[in-house]
């Protein structure tokens, strides 16, 4: 009687399949977690050191006859990084002020402006640069690597970096005056 009433043998999922399923679930959750974490981080925070990057430059917009510029080579200078695009109307509002600020600080040799052209086409980008008489180093954000590094939320966006490569101020949207740019640069130069 006891033998006949014993519980039947259960056919369970093989152990290798269980391991596979659980591993896949864990990997999937990790991927989702990483993506959500990155999205929640937002822009590079003020006070953070800017990771190194290389910006290829448009012909005619080189820096010291170099066809590309490496951010780590700019240590010791105040760096103003401006993300822009030719299709961006608000960018046009600040273009002249940025150029004026560049012309103001260029003789000092202590400040460098970098224009990062975001998801744009080169002919239109060049037309834009010519239209506003921009002369500071400018180049395309190939593969959107730099904008992803900064996790920009759009254009225009401008990052002010101190002489030690630390981000000190972020401007989302266009500047409304030359003084606004100068105020931030002067603060960093005074340090």
């Amino acid at each position: 009687m006891a033998e006949t009433m014993s519980s039947p043998v259960r056919r369970s999922v093989p152990i290798w399949a269980q391991v596979l399923i659980w591993s896949a679930l864990v990997v999937l959750l990790m991927v989702i977690g990483i993506v959500l974490n990155r999205r929640s981080e937002g822009n590079i925070q003020v006070g953070n050191r800017i990771p190194d990057f290389t910006l290829p430059l448009f012909s005619g917009y080189e820096s010291n006859d170099q066809s590309e510029i490496r951010f780590s080579d700019l240590r010791g200078k105040v760096v103003v990084i401006n993300f822009w695009a030719s299709w961006c109307k608000p960018c046009e509002l600040e273009a002249a002020d940025l150029q004026a600020a560049w012309e103001y600080y260029r003789p000092t040799g202590q400040v460098i402006f970098l224009g990062v052209n975001y998801v744009d086409t080169e002919p239109e980008a060049r037309l834009y640069l010519q239209k506003f008489g921009i002369t500071y180093p400018n180049g395309p954000d190939l593969g959107t690597r730099i904008s992803q590094l900064f996790r920009i939320s759009g254009v225009p966006e401008t990052y002010f970096v101190d002489k030690n490569g630390v981000l000190r101020y972020v401007r989302v949207g266009p500047f409304t005056s030359l003084e606004e740019i100068q105020r931030q640069v002067d603060l960093l130069l005074a340090e």
């Binding site: 009433m5 896949a24 299709w87």
Partner: protein
């Protein structure tokens, strides 16, 4: 002499006919359909989830114009798409490239479906399998009853 002249005219005529298709195949501007066929494979870099062929932004208009220009230059579809990937990243593609981390997009959904199907099949099998407890109990009772009847019959025989 006449025959020679006729032959010359014939050769000239044939040569002219041979040249005509070459004139017809001269450079022509790419059509909107040709541009959109490639634009459809790309996504707007500014708006989310908007294919390039229907996006109304200026950025996309510039990209379509660039596609048109590259087609006119004789670039193939693959070369044009690759140009956009090199310049703007793989995220502009309407489907992820089959390489590296992007493989997850192709592997995870079918794997999830397979696992789901396996679980459903397992559940159906478990439902169809006859419950072992009930039949065993019934057969036990029958066996007990048989044994009881046998003993009863034996007792009755003895009493006779």
């Amino acid at each position: 002499m006449m025959r020679l002249m006729r032959l010359s005219w014939l050769i000239l005529l044939l040569a002219a006919l041979a040249v005509r298709p070459a004139w017809a195949q001269g450079p022509r501007p790419p059509t909107d359909d040709e541009v959109n066929a490639i634009a459809r494979k790309l996504y707007c870099p500014v708006c989310e989830n908007t294919p390039l062929d229907v996006c109304p932004t200026q950025a996309c208009a510039q990209w379509r114009s660039l596609i048109r220009q590259m087609l006119a230059e004789g670039k193939t579809e693959q070369e044009i798409v690759q140009y956009f990937v090199d310049n703007y990243g793989a995220r502009v593609l309407n489907e992820p490239p089959r390489q590296g981390f992007h493989w997850l997009a192709y592997l995870v959904p079918p794997l999830a479906i397979l696992v789901g199907v396996a679980i459903v099949v397992q559940a159906f099998r478990a439902m169809k399998r006859p419950g072992p407890a009930a039949p065993t109990a019934r057969s036990d009772q029958e066996a007990l009853l048989d044994e009881y009847l046998l003993r009863l019959e034996e007792e009755l025989r003895r009493q006779r």
